[in-house]
């Protein structure tokens, strides 16, 4: 394996470079996936069929908590990659853990929110609006939840093996995934919640 020491560890081999480009291709496909869900939501958001509507359901306090928590976690995973480039293993793992704890908090608030929606009489079968809403929010929430398990697996490898081209590459790719989920949330925050409450 050819290791180019002039580059950050996560880019240091040919395989690593290709892994990163490959992950960007995956992100391109994810953009298309979420676009279809947003498209479906925008078409169906008015079809509440006698059930609760967006304006009736959405609560500003949980929205602000979720947004702040996810934005902060996106910042901390960025700091973790920075710490990794400085070769600071302890700081990287610590920042990575903070990211995952914030992610867990986000998922927790989302579950609470879904519980409240069901309490308000909105479940997956209530209306076209509810189906589109739960599918969009649920797909994003499932991505974050998957990221928690993936992140834990990478942290274990960092603890066991330290920084190698492979673990650095995985950490960097995880950070791409996490920032992408933050971007998707920004669009949900703006065009599902705030648009619905305006």
């Amino acid at each position: 394996m050819n290791i180019d020491h002039s580059k950050p560890l996560e880019y240091s081999t040919e395989t690593n470079d290709m892994n990163i480009v490959g992950f960007w291709v995956f992100i391109g496909a994810e953009i298309a996936l979420f676009a279809t869900l947003f498209g479906a939501y925008f078409i169906l958001e008015g079809r509440t069929g006698g059930g609760p509507s967006a304006g009736h359901l959405f609560v500003i306090s949980t929205l602000m908590i979720q947004t702040f928590v996810l934005l902060t976690s996106s910042f901390t995973i960025g700091l973790a990659v920075n710490a990794m480039r400085l070769g600071r293993k302890g700081a990287t793992i610590g920042l990575f853990l903070i990211t995952l704890i914030l992610g867990l908090g986000f998922v927790g608030v989302e579950i609470y929110e879904f519980y409240e929606y069901v309490h308000e009489g909105l479940n997956l079968q209530t209306s076209a609006f509810s189906a589109a809403l739960f599918t969009l929010l649920g797909t994003h929430g499932a991505h974050v939840s998957f990221g928690l398990f993936w992140g834990v697996a990478i942290i274990i490898q960092l603890v066991k093996r330290g920084f190698t081209p492979a673990t650095a590459n995985k950490t960097f790719i995880f950070s791409l995934y996490w920032h992408f989920l933050d971007v998707v949330w920004i669009f949900i925050f703006s065009f599902v919640y705030l648009k619905g409450m305006m």
Partner: protein
């Protein structure tokens, strides 16, 4: 300790918080739907771009051309899906 908080990322985070607060004004201040949507479109796309460049390091790898091309193609597909669907099924053309 200072080196763990590079200025670029701290400023990026602060900017994203400011953009979030501006977006929240749509809820807290009474305004027309059109003005609100314009504000949201500007804040959301600015924040997405910020994440892409500051946090995702899209420009720094030797493959940055492919990465940008791929991402913009994804965004084009996304806009075509969303606005195409709205055009055909909601706006009624």
């Amino acid at each position: 300790m200072r080196e763990l908080f590079p200025a670029k990322q701290v400023i990026g985070f602060a900017t994203s918080l400011v953009l979030t607060v501006i977006a929240l004004l749509v809820y807290f201040i009474d305004m027309s739907f059109q003005v609100g949507m314009i504000i949201l479109l500007i804040t959301a796309f600015t924040q997405a771009g910020l994440q892409l460049v500051v946090f995702m390091h899209a420009g720094e790898s030797s493959d940055s051309d492919s990465i940008y091309l791929n991402t913009f193609y994804g965004v084009f597909i996304a806009l075509a899906i969303v606005f195409g669907s709205l055009l055909a099924m909601v706006w009624g053309y």
